[in-house]
Every structure is written in C-alpha cells, then in structure tokens.
C-alpha cells in the first residue's frame, strides 16, 4: 500500500464545491438527457440540491470529513426530491457513516466510503448493475478503486481509475433497456440513450479525481 497524502475536511469541501460547479455547468445537458428517457429534470434537481448545499459547507468547515458528507446528504435529501435526491443523499450519508469520527482519510478510508455509498445506493434504489441507472457508473468505479487500492496505488491513481471506470460504465448504459427509474416505462425505447444518473455519477467521480494532492 502506498503512503498517500491524507484527505482533510477542506479537501472534501473542495470536492463538493467542485462537483456543485460541474453540476451547474452541466445542468441543461443532464436535464436534456433526462427529457429523452425520463421527465427532464435531473440537472435541475441536482443543481437545486447543490446550490442549497454549498452555502452550508462553511458551517462544517471546522468539523470532520463525515460532518461535511452528512451535511451534503441531509441537504440533498431535503432539497432535491425525485429519485436522485434520496439516492445521492443516501450515498453521501453512508459514506459519512463509514468514516465517522475520523479527522483525515487515507486511501483505505476513501475506498471504504465509496463502498458504503454504493451499498447505500443499491439498498435505497433496489437496483443492480444492468438496470440502466447510476449504479452502472458506480459499480465499475468502486470496483476499479478497490483494484487500485489492492494493487498498492496512491489516492490520485485510485481516483483516476475510478473516474475512468465510471465513464466507461456510463457509456455502457447506452444500449441497455432500463429496468428501474422512469426510463423503464419506455421499455425497448429506452435503449440507445445514455442514462442521466449514470452521467451525473461519472461527473461526480470526475470531480473526485481532481481531489488531487499527489
């Protein structure tokens, strides 16, 4: 296992702010993707949630990474609604619980947090790989993170691997016929479109990768 630089509360805040900016930037794109096979609000939903989240980060700047993650979680749960709100909210909540009490996070802790987030997503959404949801981006991303950790990679490499796998996973949702979420109402007609939640998840891993301290 490589000895990386530990992730601090400020790093987590920075990641959340970065992702918030990415969501704002991609708001219309995400909404358009959702209009094609859902109800056209995914970008709007996430952006509403993260716009509400960012101002609250100052309150927890002196706390632990888990405090930040929990604040993100409760704000998303309270402000987003729809499917993505409680799903992303649960992911952040579980990630926070997984690293509760720690002041800094090493590689193992980061991967454990990602692991817990994915488990939370699956439990909440009752979806699995191949259902054409955000799970299809998260699952390979978390697997890649595990593999990198097991292979002794440092944090930047772990997160870079996760981000690349998330993008691949996102793209692989294109041919799928949706079985969960609104896109499932389309049946066969859902094939040929990328899943909006998988797209926002790939952006999340992208924002995470830039958490580059190496």
């Amino acid at each position: 296992m490589s000895v990386g630089v530990a992730v601090t509360t400020a790093d987590v805040v920075g990641f959340v702010e970065r992702y918030a900016a990415v969501v704002a930037e991609h708001r219309q794109r995400l909404t358009k993707l959702d209009a094609a096979i859902g109800d056209g609000d995914h970008g709007e939903n996430l952006d509403r949630g993260f716009r509400a989240t960012v101002p609250k980060l100052a309150e927890v700047a002196d706390g632990t990474p888990a405090d930040v993650l929990k604040t993100v979680a409760t704000t998303l749960i309270a402000k987003v609604g729809g499917a993505a709100g409680p799903l992303y909210g649960t992911a952040f909540l579980r990630a926070g619980s997984a690293v509760a009490g720690r002041v800094e996070l090493d590689e193992t802790a980061v991967v454990a947090a990602l692991d817990a987030a994915l488990e939370g997503l699956k439990a909440r959404g009752k979806a699995d790989v191949g259902d054409k949801t955000m799970i299809d981006a998260w699952t390979p991303a978390v697997a890649a993170a595990h593999a990198a950790l097991d292979g002794g990679k440092d944090l930047p490499a772990i997160l870079a691997g996760a981000a690349a796998a998330a993008e691949t996973g996102r793209d692989e949702t294109i041919p799928l016929v949706a079985r969960k979420g609104r896109a499932s109402y389309l049946g066969e007609r859902s094939a040929g479109h990328v899943d909006p939640g998988a797209t926002s998840s790939a952006l999340l891993f992208g924002a995470l990768r830039c958490e580059d301290k190496g």
């Binding site: 939903n45 499917a83 909440r124």
Partner: protein, 333 residues
C-alpha cells in the same frame, strides 16, 4: 414558453400562497417545508392520510385535502417528488394517534422519498404505513422493473380511503382498502401535445401535427408508442382495451369510470371520450354506476386524457359516495 407565472422557480411557492388565500376555510398551508393540511388537523383518533408528489398535477394532491379525503399533501417541485422533510413534517402535523397512511404513486422518487420520511417519522414514534399505487397498464410490469406507474387510481384511492378513515376504520382497515382499490383499478393515458415544465422552458417532447402518444404518463414521459392521430372513439378503444385485458371485470360487474383530462383538453372533449368508454363497457356487460370526468390529475397544460376503471363493490361505492369537503372535490357538505 407562454405561462401565467412570474419566476419559474417561484411557481410552486406562489401557487401555495394562492391556495391558502382561496381556501383558508378548508386548508392550512405550511410554507417551509411545504405541505398542506386540512384546517382541523390533527383529528384525534382518526387514521390520517398523507399523499404528495411532484407539482403540476393540480388539483391532485393539494386540492384533495379536507374532510373525507386527505389530511395532508406534500407538493414537490414541478414533476419532482417532494422531499422527506416535507413528508415527515406533514405526517407529524396530521397524526391523530391512530396511525398515518402514505398513499404513494409508484415512481422511484416518490417511493424512496416517502420511505425515508416514514423511517424518520417512525423514529419519532408515529405509526406509518405505505401503499404504493400502480395502476397504469401502459407500463409492462415485472419483478425486475420499477413496475407500473401510479396514475388515476390515486385520486379514487384518496377519496375512498378518506371516507373510510372518516367513518373510523383503523389503520389496518384503511391500508387494506387502499390496496383493494389499487388491485381493482386500471388506467391508461394518451397525449395530443406535450407540456412545458416551467424551469425547463421548452416542451418536454414534440409530437407532429398528426401524431399522438399512447400510454403516456403524467410527467411528459414518453409513452408506449407514437402513432398517427385518430378519431376519439378509436383512441378510447386503444385506452380501454388494455385495461380490460388486464382486469377482472366482466358481465354484470359494476364499475366507476373516470375520464381524466391531462390539462389542455377541454371538458367537452372529455365528455365525448366518456360517452364512448361508457358505451364500450356497456357492450361488455359492465354497469357503470359511478363516474368522474374532468381534469383531476393533470400534466400541466398537456392535451390528452386518461381512462381509469375501478371495479366497485357495495363498500367501495358507499365510500365513494361519502361526504367530502376539499377545495377541488366536494359533496355532501
């Protein structure tokens, strides 16, 4: 986008102010978190019924709050499920000690948010049960999918369960009745035009001048298939046939027929559709003994209609007829 609105992001909040101003005798509105409760909530000893979902379906659900129907409604952003904090606060506000039923339309967002709210409310000591309505036969159901959407049966379940709660049924009884309504109801909808979500600013989908979308949901989600526009009688058959195929309803049975407008279709057209649906049911020996016609569960200004058939028995009929005093549906008081 041509709408009678101010800032798109204020649509729901301003509409709630309007509801509050117009119906202060029947309802109270809480603004943060947003929910609507009947004016006399909580009613001690009565099972409380809470529903909610994205806005844009008015009068559902807020217009159905009042004696004999809902105790509370939680309005989300347009076409976006409300959040657990709203649902939890509403649940607490109406809990009269006899338990709370959450009537939830089957959309991932609604189901998951209501689940979280129930967990939160139960942690505070409330007794909460959830019934998920999934009556839309346009969606193929299976163990592996999100399942059918909840549409028209929701309105009927809210009315009937509201009547049961009002007469003093306990939580188990109201839950069972809600499941019975859901089991005995089927729906299917269609659209002639799209709707425009205010913050999106553009129509959710586009249909050609000669096209319609069969099997549409109430959020502008695409439907089962897109096809050339047809006369009303043919369209009604396209909606009713899959309902009847899926439903235990036949010769000699009694039914409630609900022809719902999606928002942009005038009432005169809904009556044309109702007429044909009633004829078709009559031809199969079904006796339509109760009716509901109008824009009761809408998709903003979308033009289109849905048909819901509920198989009735004596108890469901009696509860359908029971008094109800809400901003939108009122009878017997």
């Amino acid at each position: 986008m041509k709408k009678l609105i101010n800032d798109p992001s204020d649509v729901v909040a301003e509409a709630l102010r309007g509801m509050e101003a117009a119906h202060g005798d029947l309802i109270r509105v809480n603004h943060d978190p947003a929910y609507i409760v009947r004016a006399d909530a909580p009613v001690a000893g009565k099972v409380a019924i809470v529903s909610g979902g994205g806005s844009g379906h008015e009068p559902m659900h807020g217009g159905f709050v009042g004696r004999g129907m809902l105790d509370a409604a939680c309005p989300g952003a347009v076409f976006t499920s409300p959040t657990p904090d709203q649902m939890q606060a509403a649940t607490t506000a109406v809990d009269g000690g006899a338990g709370v039923l959450h009537i939830v339309k089957n959309y991932t967002g609604d189901v998951v948010n209501f689940e979280m709210a129930a967990e939160l409310a139960e942690a505070e000591g409330a007794s909460v049960r959830q019934v998920v309505i999934d009556d839309d036969v346009a969606v193929k159901d299976s163990l592996y999918t999100a399942g059918r959407r909840g549409v028209g049966a929701t309105v009927l379940a809210e009315k009937i369960c509201g009547g049961a709660a009002e007469r003093g049924d306990d939580l188990d009884g109201v839950v069972a009745l809600c499941e019975r309504v859901n089991a005995n109801a089927r729906s299917m909808g269609m659209a002639l035009t799209s709707c425009t979500v205010p913050h999106a600013g553009e129509p959710t989908f586009t249909l050609g001048e000669d096209e319609m979308e069969i099997g549409i949901g109430i959020h502008g989600e695409p439907g089962r298939e897109r096809m050339p526009l047809e006369p009303a009688d043919r369209i009604v058959a396209r909606l009713l046939d899959p309902i009847m195929e899926d439903m235990p309803l036949g010769d000699g049975d009694e039914a409630l027929l609900f022809v719902n407008g999606m928002g942009g279709t005038p009432l005169i057209e809904l009556y044309i559709a109702y007429r044909r649906a009633a004829e078709l049911l009559g031809e199969r020996g079904v006796r339509v003994t109760r009716s509901l016609v109008g824009p009761w569960m809408t998709a903003l200004e979308m033009a289109g209609a849905s048909v819901t058939v509920l198989k009735l028995d004596a108890e469901l009929t009696e509860l359908w007829d029971a008094p109800v005093v809400t901003p939108a549906l009122r009878r017997g008081a």
